[in-house]
Symmetry: C2
Subunit: 152 residues, 2 copies
DNA sequence: CAAAATTTTGCAAATGCTTGTCAACTGGCG
DNA sequence: CGCCAGTTGACAAGCATTTGCAAAATTTTG
């Protein structure tokens, strides 16, 4: 059977860990201690934490880091396209590395777990639809909200 | 040529205007003057206004209506499944009647315009993917963000 | 290597959207 | 027409996020 979609739950680690420090330094951004801590956290992250969660993890490394700095750093990285921001269910923004290939999300409405997947067929259909409507897609968002099927 | 998707920009009017008053009254909800004004606005609406916009339109009919009441009414209707709430781009919630058939959205990133469309093939693919991941879809969200193609 | 130049930080206060509180008001049945 | 739980408007409060500012840290210069 042809697999035209697949789970890519560990995609972030599947790809080479990006060297944020070099990337930012080359762009003329200063590498400070708070930023280094946050970048390390992001690099090691496999889930989709929100700002508060990143802040908690950061504080456990360096208790002087402020939440403002987390937000400022996330915004900085988002503007550079280094991370993606999601707002599942309208809740607080949750972040993930942008280094991996594009993918969509399936959110478990009971646990909040996020499963990544990708379907080339859906990607292609989206392109077709947008083109027919006279548009070029700049980006898109596909989120499936579901509940684990009961093992019968 | 087989059309397997279509624009449904005027879908809301394509369907019979729902009688919110009767619907709510039957459910034991009181029809007050503020609510009537808001319901009338929603019934006449073809776009996807946010709370503040609904409030502005309501005030022009009855200047005593408060923003709180708009939010309360929207929440009431949302809980009853009468309207849908969207948070395009993480901005303020925008609402639309739920009376029409399900559809997805293409948002013009330059103007904020929202075009409704539907693709049964995409719907089906989503089902397949969720099933394969062991989930049942409760609801989903597909938003294409694009820019109008320049007529060359 | 120290001082200047510039960016970044932590803190607190501010913002934007949304919900909660509460006394006053009002639909709609009796 | 009167009652009274459901509603309202006004405003305070709540959350997530952003911003102003003086102090602190980083890079640049001399």
């Amino acid at each position: 059977m042809l697999v035209n979609w697949r789970i890519i739950g560990s995609m972030t680690t599947m790809n080479h860990k990006p060297d944020y420090e070099k990337e930012l330094r080359d762009a003329g951004v200063r590498i400070t201690r708070p930023r280094r801590v946050i970048l390390d956290i992001l690099t090691a992250t496999e889930d989709h934490p929100d700002a508060m969660e990143i802040f908690r993890r950061a504080v456990s490394v360096d208790s002087s880091i402020s939440l403002s700095t987390v937000y400022r750093t996330m915004k900085l990285l988002e503007e550079r396209g280094t991370i993606h921001r999601h707002a599942f269910n309208g809740g607080p923004s949750r972040f993930e590395q942008a280094s991996g290939a594009h993918h969509d999300h399936l959110i478990d409405i009971e646990t909040g777990d996020v499963i990544e997947f990708r379907s080339d067929r859906i990607e292609k259909l989206q392109e077709e639809i947008a083109r027919s409507l006279g548009y070029d897609i700049v980006h898109h968002r596909l989120e499936l909200y579901g509940r684990k099927r009961q093992a019968k």
